[in-house]
């Protein structure tokens, strides 16, 4: 699984960090997403998919 983020559109809600804290973090300077792991293992798939579908600006893409 590969994850891509459109950082320009991230609104810093931090929803992804709640759902998949091993994959996403939040920048302390502007709240935007930090991708901790761009290619997480399959065990993260459910959490990452949930994060992608609940991201308010839909900036998380799973390839």
């Amino acid at each position: 699984m590969r994850i891509e983020i459109d950082e320009d559109l991230c609104c810093g809600a931090g929803t992804c960090v709640l759902l998949a804290p091993d994959v996403f973090d939040q920048n302390d300077e502007d709240g935007t997403v930090i991708l901790l792991d761009a290619a997480p293992g399959e065990e993260q798939r459910a959490a990452v998919e949930e994060a992608a579908s609940r991201c308010p600006t839909a900036v998380i893409r799973i390839a």
């Binding site: 559109l9 609104c11 810093g12 809600a13 931090g14 960090v17 709640l18 939040q26 920048n27 302390d28 300077e29 502007d30 709240g31 935007t32 949930e50 579908s53 609940r54 308010p56 600006t57 839909a58």
Partner: protein, 366 residues
Amino acid sequence: MTPLRYPDGHIGRLVTGLQTARSVLGDTRFSSLPAGKRSPVKVPGSELSTDALPPGMFVNMDPPEHTRYRRLLSKHFTIRRVRELRPRIQEMTDRLLDEMESAAGPVDLVQAFAKPLPTLVTSELLGLPEADRSQFGHHVDVLFSLSSSGEEMQQSMMGLGGMLTALIAAARKDPGPDILGRLTLETDLTDEELLGITIVLLIAGLETTTNMLALGTYALLRHPDQLAALRADWTLMDDAVEELLRYLSVVQIGPIRVAAEDFEFEGQSVRKGEVVTVSLPAANRDPLGFEAPDTFDIRRGPSRHLAFGSGPHQCMGHHLARLELAIGYESLLRRFPRLELAVPAEEIGTREMMVTYGVLGLPVRW
């Protein structure tokens, strides 16, 4: 998305489906700029002109202007930052409950708890000195009250504006660790922008949280089986908060957008200037999005409700709101194991035709 006639005859749209609501709120062709915006129903304040709003009120902006303000503020509402606030919010909550417990008879939970808690939290975030907090609370109370006269509202508007202007001046002179202090140090925002931002934070953070705290408690008292389940297992608290947010959806009117251009949207032709109102309560009870949507069930588990909206304008304070609610409900219910309504449920009045739904008062005893 269905056609909707607005009070002045304008034919716009109403969105009631969960998926469409998400799509509309995430699509900036549906603009947040105030020009042409109308409320689908007459609510207090909806006829006020937006021409004289101070700059910095980013709720009425589109990207990239909106993004600039949002980025400057988001750092104060990250999960990490909000988690650091937990002990302080717990302390403030416990102090309010101490005062409430010392009262002999039934108390109005709105006045004793639901209103002061978010006011205290917000005061602290903004760096409002302890001595000014009761005055601040009074102004906020008047401005958000249905029973205030025009004259009282005008006075409190002036009073609050004066307090906030003085607060911003004080933050410039001697910046503290609070949001305003940090913003004066770390950004090039003008005093007028800071005023606009502060007003947005107040509007967003106070009335919504107050009504969720009181109405949520009412909902739990009216569903004894759910309340008993929660009392038996406090680990259900976070799920209970999510379900209360979904089931109650206190933001009853809006978000409202205006189509910025002609375009095709989900098979419909949208015309520039059309006003589109999203109904969050309807979206949050969409049978396609939620099983048995009218059932209040704290064991529903993770849900994709839109109580905080969606898209670039999704509530920035959602982590803070969730924390205040979780601490508020749990501390209240633990403190008073026999909490109950002090009047028959039929006597509890509700806020009709207001942007934010809630109870007018909630007399409780224990």
